[in-house]
């Protein structure tokens, strides 16, 4: 199933961006026009401390180059086959048996402390050494004091095993469409890790991209993996399935993949061009379908900017 999807999606990210730029710009213009008081697409940032002060970390300091990362992926695939199929196997939720293998290493359990003292569990994923993407409602909770007090990021958590340590962040980003308007179409958040805790260098990270063609999300083979609460929030579980189409004015897409509370912020990815590319961020469950915030051009650019702004040391 994953191999078929690969051949269907033969375009490079760059080609897509150029060919479909006009359409996406039109979409962004519509978004801006809808906004009466707030530009939903603009960023909101909460960073009360100098990042260098975020010393509450058990980070393991190590890094490898892109070339080394490719070798790791190649070796894993030789051992396990194409990862989405080999590990998830059948079309139902399965425990990830090898969370220490890329790309599952790049998926993190989040222990979220809200401003009002409540605690939550979510999921995030690395897109760079210090940049972890998640759902907006994992970093900004309207009924719990707004921005989180702090979030502990634990890559590849497996029971009590923390193979890459963990890091506590106090620095978060989201979109005003989420923080000011609580619009689910803008339910996107980012966690910035302290400079001395660039855990992504060890775990590797996901690629990400956007497609402006809505039909791309019809019957597209996708994979989702995260930390569901019904399994205690300390085991990684995932499933492959099909996207069923876009919703919410094109800002979200739906799929028939089993998820549970705790998986908000999970990457929803495709395997294309010999790489793992996130197309959406899981945010919402329901009895009929589950939903992700779609990576659109705006979010794509925001992530790119944050990666540049917060590099590894």
């Amino acid at each position: 199933m994953a191999k078929k999807a690969t051949s269907q999606a033969g375009k490079s990210q760059k080609a897509v961006s150029q060919n479909e730029k006009k359409t996406e710009e039109d979409l962004m213009l519509e978004v801006s026009n809808e906004s009466e008081q707030v530009d939903e697409t603009s960023s909101e940032c909460y960073c009360p401390f100098d990042l260098l002060e975020g010393d509450e970390t058990e980070a393991i300091y190590a890094s490898f180059s892109q070339k080394e990362l490719k070798e790791i992926i190649k070796k894993d695939e030789e051992e396990l086959g194409p990862l989405p199929e080999a590990i998830l196997g059948v079309d139902s939720r399965s425990r990830i048996q090898a969370p220490f293998k890329y790309p599952y290493t790049a998926i993190c359990s989040l222990k979220i402390a809200a401003k009002d003292g409540n605690k939550f569990i979510g999921t995030g994923f690395f897109v760079g050494p210090r940049v972890v993407v998640t759902a907006g409602h994992c970093v900004y909770m309207h009924d719990h004091g707004g921005w989180a007090q702090n979030i502990e990021v634990i890559p590849a958590l497996d029971g009590t095993s923390k193979p890459y340590g963990s890091a506590v962040s106090y620095c978060f980003h989201s979109l005003k469409g989420w923080t000011n308007k609580k619009d689910s179409g803008y339910d996107y958040g980012v966690i910035i890790l302290p400079e001395n805790a660039a855990l992504g260098q060890k775990t590797g990270w996901f690629g990400y991209g956007y497609k402006t063609d809505d039909s791309y999300f019809k019957n597209r083979a996708i994979t989702l993996s995260g930390y569901p609460g019904d399994k205690g929030g300390s085991q990684q579980w995932g499933m492959s399935g099909a996207a069923t189409g876009v919703t919410n004015g094109g800002r979200k897409f739906a799929y028939k993949i089993d998820t549970y509370g705790g998986q908000s912020g999970s990457p929803v990815w495709v395997y294309e061009n010999n790489g793992y590319y996130v197309r959406g961020i899981h945010t919402t469950g329901s009895s009929n379908s589950n939903y992700a915030t779609r990576i659109n051009k705006n979010i794509f650019e925001k992530i790119k900017d944050l990666k540049a702004k917060y590099p590894a040391k």
Binding site: H137, D230, G233, T284, S286, S287
Partner: protein, 89 residues
């Protein structure tokens, strides 16, 4: 929605993971899980309306329990009591 996770003896359970499986009217809900405090209390992020909610409660001692609760929609200030037992699921 406030919930309180207790044993059959009424003892609060600290560190239980509470998540939603379904909400009334086939509604949608954010898939973030909540952790109980030492009083067994947690807040589950969802819209509070009348009808049946299905929760999953995971505790170290009892594992996962699935609990259905029907609320009137008029008692939002009171926590929903979720009783976990070894047999529940």
């Amino acid at each position: 929605m406030d919930v309180k996770v207790v044993t059959v003896k009424g003892e609060p359970i600290d560190g239980a993971v509470v998540s939603l499986s379904s909400v009334p009217n086939n509604g949608a809900f954010p898939e973030i899980a909540s952790l109980t405090n030492e009083q067994g209390l947690a807040n589950v992020i969802c819209e509070y309306v009348a009808g049946e909610y299905v929760f999953s409660v995971f505790t170290d001692e009892y594992g996962a329990s699935k609990i259905s609760v029907t609320v009137s929609g008029k008692e939002e200030d009171l926590p929903v009591i979720l009783i976990v037992t070894p047999e529940a699921e």
